[in-house]
Amino acid sequence: MTIVFTEVVQYLINGIAQGAVYALIALGYTMVYGILKLINFAHGEFYMAGAFFGIVAFSVLGLPPALGTIAVMVATGLLAVLVERLAYRPLRHSNRIAPLITAIGVSIVLLEAARLIAGAHPRPFPQLFENTVYELGTWMPALDGVILQKTQLVIFFTTLVLMALLWFIVNRTKWGRAMRALSVDFDASQLMGVPINRVIAFTFFLGAALAGAAGLLVGMYYNQAEPYMGQLAGLKAFTAAVLGGIGVIPGAVLGALFLGVAEALVVGYGESSYRDAIAFAILIAVLMTRPWGLLGKPERVKV
C-alpha cells in the first residue's frame, strides 16, 4: 500500500466535511449533557427532522436558501423544546436511568413518526445550487487530482458561521452566562435566580437548531433524506462528544473532526464495510482509557 499525498489530502477534505456535520450534532449532546447530565438519545432524530424540514421548506414552500435554513433551524429547535417540556422536564428530579429510557422512547417516537409520514425510503432533497466541482490542481500543481465540491465549501462555511454564533451566544450573552452557570452548579444557579427552566429550554433549542442545520447540510450533500439517518449519525456524534470530553464545547468540535477524518481514512485505506465500527471502537477505547475525553477533566466520585 503506497500512501499518495494527494489522496491523503482528498480524504482529509472529505473527512473534515463529514466531521463538520458531526460537530454540529455533537454540540447539542455536549451542551445538554453539560447542564443536565442527560444523554439525549433522541438528539440524532432532531438532525433527521432537520433534513425533512429542509425538504418541506425548499420543495414544498419554496423558501430561498438563507431564509429556509433559518426556518428549519427554528422548527427543529421548537421540536426539541416541546420534547424537553413533555418528556424530560417531569423527570428532572428522578434517578438518572428514567430520563435515559424516556429519551430512547422519544427517539423511537420521532423516528416512527417520520417513517409514517414520509415513508421508509429515502426522499430526494432539492438541489439548491449547481454543485460545481473545483479541481485544486489548477491552482496548485502539487494537489493534482484533488477535488473540492461546492457543497463541501458550503458545509465548511455554514459550520464556521454557526460555531462563531454559538461561541458568541455562550460566551458573550446573558443567556450564555446562565447556561455556563448551570453547568458549573445547577442548584447554586437556581438560588441565584437563574430561570432554569427557560435556560434549559433555550439549551435544547440551540442544540437542536444546530442538529437541524446539520441535517439540512447532509441532505444537500447526499441529495436525500431518510427516517433512519439520525440513528447512526446520533451515536457517532455522541462518540465525538465523548471523545472531545462531554460537556466541553470546543471538545465536541475537536472530537467530531477527528472522527470524520478517521472514518474517511478507514474508507480510503481499509475496509469500508468497517467504517461504522470505527466510531464505536474509538468510543470504547476512549471510555476505557480516558472517559473524560481529550479536553475534559476527570471527575471524582464523592460519598
Binding site: 424516556t102 430512547i104 422519544v106 423511537i108 440513528q231 470504547i284 471510555l287
Partner: protein
C-alpha cells in the same frame, strides 16, 4: 377456536424465548443496576454459536440425534455468550451509568458489524437452513430452568451482594463486597442466558441474519423489563409477555401493525413518566393498599 389454539402454539416459543431474554437482561439491569443497551449482541452471539454448531460443525450428528445436538447447541450458545459477556464486561464495567449504556451500545453494534462481515456465517445474507429441532416442551423446560436458576441465584449470598452493588456501590464496597467481581458476575450470567435465548431463537426461526439483532432488539428487551418493573423476576415475565403480545395483537389489523413501534415508544415514555416501577409496582401498590383512596400529592 382451533385457529386460535394453533396460533397459541405457533407463538408460544417466541413468548418463552422473550421471557428468557427479559429475565437475563433483568439480572444485569434490574438486579445489578448496570444499564446495558447491548443485549442484542449477546443474543446474537448465542444464536450464531448454536446455529453454527448444528448447521456448519455437526450437521450429520444433528440429523441423527437432534435432541442431544440441540442440548449441546444450547450449551455452546450459552458458553459463547458468557465468554463474550466476560470479554465485554471486564473493560466496560469500570464505567457507570450512562457511560456504560453507551459503551454497551457500541459493543452491541460492533458484534453486529463483525457478523455482517463474517463470510463463514453468511455475512449480510444470514445463516439459512437451521434445522427445525426444537419441540415446544424443550423451550418451556429451558424457560423454567432459567427462571428457577436465576431465582436461586438472586436468593443466594451472590444475589444479595449483587443487589447491594445496585443499592449503593460505595456502601457495598465498605462492607467488603467485591463490587467489580459481582458486577462482572451479573453481566456474565445475564449474557449467558441471553445466549440460551439466542440458541432457541435461531432454531425456532431456522434463519438468522445480523440485522435481526440490531439496536432495536436491545431496546425491546429493555422495554420488557421496564414495562414489567425493573428488578422483579415476575415483572420480567409479565413484561416479556406483554411486549411480545402487543405487535402480534396489532398485526390483526394492518393499520395498527404499521404503528406498533410508535406505540412502543409512547409506552416507554408514559411508563417512565407515570409508573416508573412498571406493572409489578402497580400490582404491589394495589395489593398493599386495598380500598384506600390515593392521597393527593403535596
Amino acid at each position: 377456536m382451533t385457529g386460535y389454539l394453533s396460533l397459541v402454539f405457533e407463538l408460544a416459543p417466541l413468548f418463552l424465548i422473550n421471557v428468557i431474554l427479559a429475565a437475563s437482561l433483568n439480572v444485569i439491569n434490574g438486579f445489578c443496576g448496570l444499564f446495558s443497551l447491548g443485549h442484542a449482541g449477546f443474543f446474537a452471539v448465542g444464536a450464531y454459536a448454536a446455529a453454527g454448531f448444528t448447521v456448519l460443525v455437526a450437521p450429520e450428528f444433528t440429523a441423527q440425534s437432534p435432541l442431544i445436538a440441540l442440548t449441546l447447541a444450547c450449551f455452546i450458545g450459552m458458553a459463547a455468550s458468557a465468554l463474550a459477556g466476560l470479554l465485554v464486561g471486564i473493560p466496560c464495567l469500570r464505567l457507570t451509568g450512562d457511560y456504560l449504556a453507551v459503551a454497551t451500545v457500541g459493543f452491541g453494534e460492533i458484534i453486529r458489524i463483525v457478523l455482517l462481515n463474517t463470510e463463514a456465517v453468511g455475512a449480510s445474507r444470514g445463516l439459512p437452513g437451521i434445522p427445525d429441532i426444537v419441540p415446544l416442551w424443550f423451550t418451556a423446560l429451558a424457560t423454567i430452568l432459567t427462571l428457577w436458576s436465576l431465582n436461586n441465584l438472586i436468593r443466594s449470598s451472590f444475589g444479595r451482594s449483587i443487589l447491594a452493588v445496585r443499592e449503593d456501590e460505595i456502601a457495598a464496597r465498605s462492607m467488603r463486597v467485591n463490587v467489580r467481581f459481582y458486577k462482572t458476575l451479573a453481566f456474565v450470567v445475564g449474557s449467558m442466558f441471553a445466549g440460551l435465548a439466542g440458541a432457541l431463537f435461531a432454531h425456532d426461526r431456522q434463519f438468522i441474519a445480523p440485522n435481526s439483532f440490531g439496536f432495536m432488539v436491545s431496546v425491546q428487551a429493555l422495554l420488557m423489563i421496564v414495562v414489567g418493573g425493573l428488578g422483579s423476576q415476575a415483572g420480567a415475565v409479565i413484561g416479556a409477555v406483554i411486549v411480545t403480545a402487543i405487535p402480534e395483537l396489532l398485526r390483526l389489523h394492518p393499520a395498527l401493525a404499521e404503528i406498533r413501534m410508535l406505540i412502543f415508544g409512547l409506552i416507554m415514555i408514559m411508563i417512565m413518566l407515570w409508573k416508573p416501577d412498571g406493572l409489578i409496582g402497580v400490582l404491589r401498590s394495589l395489593l398493599r393498599k386495598p380500598l384506600k383512596p390515593e392521597r393527593a400529592h403535596g
